[in-house]
């Protein structure tokens, strides 16, 4: 099991990623994540053994180009059902905890 001494990733980075992902981790979970992420990065090292200097970054295979649609309004059959998925709603809107700007 990896520990805090690992050189691929440290606890601060784990906490930063958890913050970006809105995850609240216990000290125990942080340690487990550190280990998991360490292993993943080791695997990336393995992939890096392959020389890809001459290969363009590939975002998509095939180059057919995006399919395009005409600018025609097609109304959703039942927009109301979308709101049915909201944990909470008010005045036809999704209700969320107060946002502070």
């Amino acid at each position: 099991m990896a520990t805090e001494k690992t050189n691929k990733i440290n606890l601060d980075q784990v906490r930063h990623i958890a913050l970006l992902a809105r995850l609240e981790l216990t000290a125990d979970e942080e340690q487990r994540m550190l280990g998991d992420l360490e292993q993943m990065l080791e695997y990336v090292d393995k992939l890096n053994e392959l020389d890809t200097a001459a290969v363009e970054p590939t975002a998509q295979v095939g180059d057919i180009g995006a399919a395009m649609r005409d600018d025609v309004v097609a109304t959703c059959d039942d927009p109301q059902s979308i709101l049915a998925n909201a944990p909470d709603a008010r005045e036809q809107m999704f209700k969320v905890p107060k946002i502070i700007e």
């Binding site: 930063h16 913050l19 970006l20 809105r22 975002a59 998509q60 095939g62 180059d63 057919i64 180009g65 995006a66 399919a67 395009m68 649609r69 005409d70 600018d71 025609v72 309004v73 097609a74 109304t75 959703c76 927009p79 979308i82 709101l83 998925n85 008010r90 005045e91 036809q92 809107m93 999704f94 209700k95 969320v96 905890p97 107060k98 946002i99 502070i100 700007e101």
Partner: protein, 483 residues
């Protein structure tokens, strides 16, 4: 400008989000119509439901290329979409589909009108114009926030300038020009109140003459051109005061508070700026069809800058007049439709800038709904040119025509505005006045030149206010001189 502000110069870059004039959203068929009841223009795609796939609206591509060509950008034959990742309640997918490393349009510039004093036009370079989807709208209640996704997935272009702007006024001029271009091109309606034209400003200051850049702040929440100018002016002063006091500017996002006239730091923590962009796997690359750019280029309308140049060089209008007349395409088109048959273009320009614009602005409606057809105004001005009516009579007729919708000829004759240019009739009236006022005539001839106006007034009164004043002047001068 205070002494300390002369030591510094501001470096300003603007990011403008303009909503594209499409009927449907960028990746789904939901309507983009403004003002619908909350969450009625929504579907699984723009609400980020699992398993849905975006399909690109081709009109978005055409409109963005139109703006790109107008701004002298390079159009990328192949660009890709990226995911910009952050969590916020108005972003249902947890990412915004945008363009990062490969924008659709690169480089280019916007040419600002010269003010006539500082010489020619100024160029503000662009970094890029890229495509992205809008987020939803948050409405803040006292106890919670409410989210409406009608706007989620509405197509936007983000137009990013180089930090070439130096003053708040220049920032205002840049925004007005951009908005004017977008409206000429029918790419965006540029409506700031409805949020279809939004601006964020990056502002820093540095000692005048320095090449390095100071620490910048990003200013948001400016909902009018005036707000932008005030907010930037405030931010420049604030930063200069900090530096003068030996303190440092903190890199942060600040919100403009129009009620208090200050910028203040956003309270929410911005750990974002760590957007972890990566290529959008749900959308293949955006390939511009080979003929499309040429087709769009051929169909481009004349833009405000070209019109301004034509008005000053061919018609002899001042840069100011050319600028006022060309800001809105509708007004410039109207002005040009007034011109046929008229010799005096300057008079026509003045008429459109004062009479026509006043009525249009007061009515709050479009040109066609508020003022007579341009040919009717042309015919009114022709009557002035020919001496058939006075300028004041033309104003009276114009006001009546705006209300009645009747044509110029009918209105002028109905209101009896035709002026008498018959010299014999005017001479007879002059004789009557001269006979009736022997004392005043003697005074005038004795050197009281000021009395001339009195005689003109009397003759005009005798002729029911309809005589040609130019002819009255000529005849009276002759008759009063002869003793």
């Amino acid at each position: 400008m205070s002494a300390s502000s002369e030591k510094y110069e501001a470096v300003i870059g603007l990011e403008v989000h303009a909503q594209l004039l499409t009927r449907s959203k960028i990746f789904c068929g939901c309507s983009t119509e403004f003002g619908a009841p909350p969450n009625t223009h929504v579907c699984p795609v723009c609400c980020g439901m699992p398993g849905v796939l975006p399909v690109f609206n081709r009109r978005v591509l055409e409109l963005a290329i139109r703006m790109g060509l107008a701004a002298h950008c390079t159009i990328a034959p192949r660009s890709i979409f990226d995911r910009k990742n952050y969590f916020y309640p108005d972003l249902p997918k947890g990412y915004q589909i945008s363009q990062y490393e490969t924008p659709l349009c690169k480089g280019g510039y916007i040419e600002l009108p010269g003010d006539g004093d500082n010489g020619g036009p100024t160029r503000i370079r662009l970094v890029r114009i890229h495509l992205e989807e809008d987020a939803g709208k948050n409405i803040h209640a006292p106890d919670c926030s409410l989210v409406d996704f009608n706007r989620s997935g509405v197509p936007l272009t983000e137009i990013v300038s180089e930090p070439d702007i130096r003053t708040p006024e220049q920032a205002g001029a840049y925004l007005r020009e951009l908005r004017s271009m977008l409206r000429y091109l029918e790419v965006s309606d540029g409506n700031m109140e409805e949020g279809s034209f939004r601006c964020d400003a990056n502002v820093s200051v540095r000692p005048r003459g320095s090449d390095s850049l100071g620490v910048k702040t990003e200013v948001k929440n400016m909902n009018s051109f005036r707000h932008v100018e005030h907010a930037i002016a405030y931010e420049i002063e604030r930063q200069i005061e900090l530096l003068e006091a030996g303190e440092r500017v903190v890199q942060e996002t600040r919100l403009w508070d129009p009620d208090r006239g200050v910028t203040r730091p956003m309270r929410s923590k911005e750990y974002a700026h760590d957007y972890r962009y990566f290529p959008e796997p749900d959308l293949p690359p955006l390939i511009v069809p080979p003929d499309l750019v040429e087709q769009i280029r051929i169909a481009m309308p004349e833009l405000p800058a070209a019109r301004r140049a034509r008005y000053t060089s061919e018609m002899g209008l001042t840069p100011y007049e050319a600028n006022v007349l060309t800001q809105e395409r509708e007004i410039a088109d109207y002005f040009e439709a007034v011109l046929p048959g008229l010799k005096n273009r300057k008079a026509a320009a003045n008429w459109v800038m004062t009479e026509v614009l006043r009525v249009v602005n007061e009515s709050g409606r479009g040109v066609a709904q508020s003022v007579p057809a341009p040919a009717e105004v042309g015919s009114l001005l022709k009557m002035v040119e020919d001496g058939a009516i006075s300028l004041n009579a033309a104003k009276t007729a114009f006001a009546a025509m705006c209300k009645s919708g009747k044509n110029a000829k009918a209105t002028v004759s109905e209101l009896g505005l035709l002026q008498v240019s018959d010299e014999a009739a005017i001479a007879a009236a002059c004789d009557e006045v001269i006979c009736a006022e022997p004392a005043k005539v003697a005074e005038y001839r004795g050197g009281r030149d000021k009395l001339f106006g009195f005689f003109v007034g009397q003759v005009m009164k005798a002729m029911g206010g309809k005589a040609n004043p130019k002819i009255i002047n000529e005849v009276l001068r002759r008759k009063l001189a002869a003793s």
